[in-house]
Structures are given as structure tokens and as C-alpha cells.
Symmetry: C2
Subunit: 350 residues, 2 copies
Amino acid sequence: MFHIEYPRAIPARRPEEHQPAAPRFSLRWRKPLGMMVTEYFALQGEDLDWTAQKAFFDRVIAAQQADGADHWEIMRADGPGGTVEAIIVCYWLDATRHARWTRNSAFLHWLNDPARLSEPHGLWRECSKVPYDRHETIYSAPGYRIGLSRTSDAEIVPITMNGYFGAARDRMPISAIDALESPFDELPEPAAPPSRGARITVCAPHNAIVIRSGQFWEEAGAEQDADYQDNLRPKLMRGMDYLSGHKTQSGTLSLRNMTNLNPDGSLRRETSTYGHFLSLRHLEDWAKTHETHLDIYRHAIAMNRLYKERREVVTWHEVFALIGGQHGTYVNCHPETGLLPFASLVNGRA
Amino acid sequence: MFHIEYPRAIPARRPEEHQPAAPRFSLRWRKPLGMMVTEYFALQGEDLDWTAQKAFFDRVIAAQQADGADHWEIMRADGPGGTVEAIIVCYWLDATRHARWTRNSAFLHWLNDPARLSEPHGLWRECSKVPYDRHETIYSAPGYRIGLSRTSDAEIVPITMNGYFGAARDRMPISAIDALESPFDELPEPAAPPSRGARITVCAPHNAIVIRSGQFWEEAGAEQDADYQDNLRPKLMRGMDYLSGHKTQSGTLSLRNMTNLNPDGSLRRETSTYGHFLSLRHLEDWAKTHETHLDIYRHAIAMNRLYKERREVVTWHEVFALIGGQHGTYVNCHPETGLLPFASLVNGRA
């Protein structure tokens, strides 16, 4: 099983003799990986029916034939300013294949066409391209696959590097030799760039964190479904509302709450939050100290202890620490979309 | 000593039982390295006296105080269209420090100022930012330091992975698991974009190769100095002229022949070629098959065998395999500068 471990120059956060409160799992691959690439593509509009959403998804999926993604998923989210966003996430385990796809794909040629600037809808693309040592994953159960875990040759393996603050950092191999600090001390107030009718490329600050944090309760019975809907989900949403509402204080660059879709466009009982943070420390500070996260964390752990191997709600996340550089492209979008509110902070400066 | 080695998924090029014809050396560091960053900054003009060159160098060097480079060198090259280029190369061993420098440096604020577009001279910047596993180095002798080898905690160590075609690839750790192919099959004919009065950012294609290949004969006595001037140097220049004159066939994106400068602006007996190639294979094909390289290679090996440890000419190179993305920024430059002739090939497509 492939993995990278560096001799530690920076101590692990893991306390000596740590025993995790609940079993957790992480991804490994049965083949060596150099870099991994995740692209989110989205259609944004105030009036976006399923026909329009499906046409967009079909266009992206049809473009996956040559050098296409290893895995993709279709989702829906509330966008800024009362818009709806149809979002498709695509995963590549090979940056050369992804680069070939970028060069040749009919979808990107369409996206890059100036004609897109004068159409009624917005479009965006966010691309996270990282070496293996800048990723980490966690799953509450070994049996359900989603996101990165659906890529080829992936295995979900048990870990003990979980259940303490700083565990996500410890799981990311590069953290042994890199403190992953942000070059920016803090975020300014978000701005509203003139993004309608424009194509704006936004760089990510070096060491910015991309997280997709998910919940799956399709297979939950009545009791655990009710607990999820009545207890865990409201706590999650309270946490996400806090981060979205306090971007500057929390170092939140962008946050979207997505729901996975069935092939007919109906909502699955499967959600994930796709977030960008200025640094891992910002995310850790919220997780360690803010009541909204402690509330989520305590409830999830309590349910794990209560139900043990009968737990029917799966939670998981995947995290990437970005290398500074080009990240998002926004075409005719609402000015509060993704990283647009921080475009002038970062572009040319990280 | 820090180094990365992957379990090989791709066989090494090194023949079994290989014994190198001559001793060679490579760099290691006494501390772990995540990423390394090399920036070339240049002033370009038809009429560029030492006062103007020195003012430019002083501006870059004055900006190195906070989060500055580990090492820098000043050089001069013939630029396109009869221009002269004053070039300073800067090395960072810490991408976070480099990102902080990028954010805060007075030099980049000056470079980014629109006032630069209407001045008589051109300016450019090319930034190579790679994980450790995407670099390799070679030195013909252990005693002279230049380029990357002058960064902190670097050691020059003996190697045996040299003296066969494909050795440079084998020395680059990522090559054990990544074939480093280009997403582009070949280069088109170079174009001449309207770059005067403009600021143009150019992306590098994924897996493009950046090489700095150097020669040092400051300490050569009369005999070896004469051999260098009369024999090796003309062969080198013939090779470089071939590559510059056959960009499309050879996959050469850019090539500059630089001479290191003394603090008073006089030329040192120290030169290096700074080149960009579409892929490592392109550079290997030239090295393995083209008479201009075989000529250089045979003469260098013959002199090494003749003089052994009395060899007074040092040759070396450092190579980076780029991650596709932003690489060069050209401000009011001649249209044949650096990657500008291939801007439309790569931008938005790799």
C-alpha cells in the first residue's frame, strides 16, 4: 500500500499513548500516486430547472471520455444572491492525464468561449492540484465509498491518528516537515468585484485548505435518520452558518453546502460541505475552540459510542493543502461566488 | 541527510552493474525540504548600461530582507532583438517564506505597478515552484558551490547515478512513479504576441523542464582555460544555437546563455544556460541522439579522464520538472522573450 512518511522535523500533535474514542478510517492506494487533482465545475442561475442542470452535467460527463476523471458526482447547492448551483466534482489521480484533459476537453473549450460571458447563467471552475503529501482523509466507517474513495485502487484502512485536536494535520504527510502557515495573517472584509459579464481567474493563497466534509444517511433506519435530521444536521448547519457569517474572523474564503443528486435530479440523503480556508490553523482554531464545532463533534462521538458498529450515518472528509497559484475561474458569476470576494487580496500576491 | 525515494513503479534507466566513467556529485540537504522555489527577475533593454543594470539588481537585493531568498546571483545575457538582459536568480528552500515575500516585497509591488508599462525597458519574472521530488542536480566536482548548492544546509555528495543516458531522470525522485510526459505532443511554431506596453502572464505546461546548466573556469590555469575557450565552449554554443534555432523540433520553449557578473559588473569566467523544455523526453532525445550534444559530452568526459582530480573546469546543472500553472510574467517585453512565443499555446490549456 502506497504512503509517504517523512522523518519528523515538527512534532506530531498526537498525545503519547493516545487511544482513539472511536474507530476511524483513512484512504490508501494500491499504487503509487504523485499528485491528485480535484475539479469542481458549476452552473449558477436564479432560475435553474433540472433540464438546464442536467444539460450542464451531461456536457461535463460527455467530456470525460479521453483522459477523463476517475470518478465524478453530481450535486446541488444554494448559491449566492438567491441562485441555485448545479455542481459536479471530478477526481483525477494523475496530473498528466488531467493536464491532457485540460488541453483537449470539449467542455473546457466551451467554458473558455467568450460566448459564455453573455449568457443568462454563470459558470465556475475550481481546481485543486496537490502532491500526495498535501492530502488527508477520514471516514467514520469502512464500508461506504464516496468522493476520493471511489477512485481506482483506493482502499479504506483503519487508523489510530484520530480523536484528538490536530489529528487532521498529523494525517497529512507534509505536516511532518512543513507548518503549513499562511502567507496572509488574516482575511480582509470580502469585496464584490464586477464579475457579471466577466471572466475572472483567482489564485489561492499558498497553504490554503480545501475541505469536502460529508454526511451519508441513505441507509439509516427511522431512529438514526430522525436523530440525524433533528440533532446532528441542525448542529452542522449552525456551524456552517457561523463560518459563512464570520469569514474574516474564521479565515473562511468560501463555503458551500451541497446535496448529492440521484440520476433523475432528486435529492439523495447525502450531503457535503465544500470549504476553502486561509490555513489549516484557521480550521483547527474553529474546531478546537468554537462551540458550534464542539457541539457537532460531541454529538457525532456520542452517537458513535451509542450505536457502535450499528451506526447508520457515515461522516467523512477529504482535505487538501493547496500550493499557491491559479485555482478558480468565474465566468459571468455573482460577485459573492467562491473566492471572488478575495480576488484582489490574493491575485499576484501569493 | 534528507532525501525522498519511492518504491519504483517505473524501471530505472540505469543499466545493471553500471560503473560511471567519471565521478559525479549531487545535492542533498541536512534538513527536510517540502518545496523549492527559484525566481529569475530581469531587466531588458536595447540600451542598458551598467548603472541601469546595477540599479535593477540593487532593487531586487534590497527587497530580500524579510522572507528573502537563501541565495542570489547576478548575470547578463543577450536578449531577443538585440537587447541586453540583466538577470538575477533567487533561490528559496521554503515556499511559505517565498509566498510571504511575494505578498510583501517592495520589488514585486514596483514590478506590478502599471507605471512599468510605459517605461523604456522591459521586465520579466519567471518562477519555478516544485516539490523536492521534482528536482535533480549534478556537479562535476565537490568543491565549488553555485546556484542551488549555495542554499543553506546543502551538501554536495558523491553519486553513481550518472554517466548513462537517462541518469538525470533517474536522479529525480518522482520519476520512479511518474513518466513526466507532456500533455502537449509537440510545439507549434513560435508566435510574436503584442507584448510591448502589456503585462502578459504565461503558464508553463505540466511537466515542462527548467534547467540551469553551468560552467565555471575562474580557477583554470592557462592550459585548461585554453581548452575550455577553444574546444568545450564552442561546442556548447553550437549545441545551444541548434536548440534556439530549432525550438519546435527540439521542444525548446526558451533558452538563455547567461554570464555571471562580478560586483562591479565585469564578466566572470562563469556561465550558465537557463532553458525551458516541453518535457524531459525532449531534452533526453537531444542529449542522446544529437551530434551537438554528443560532441559536448564526449569532450567533457575526455577532459575529465585526462585531468582527473586536476580538472579545473567545473560543469554542473540543476533541473526542475514544473507543475502546470502560472510561471512567467512579462512586462513591456520584446515578443520573443522567454515563454511569450508560446503563451497562447499553454494559457488556459495546461
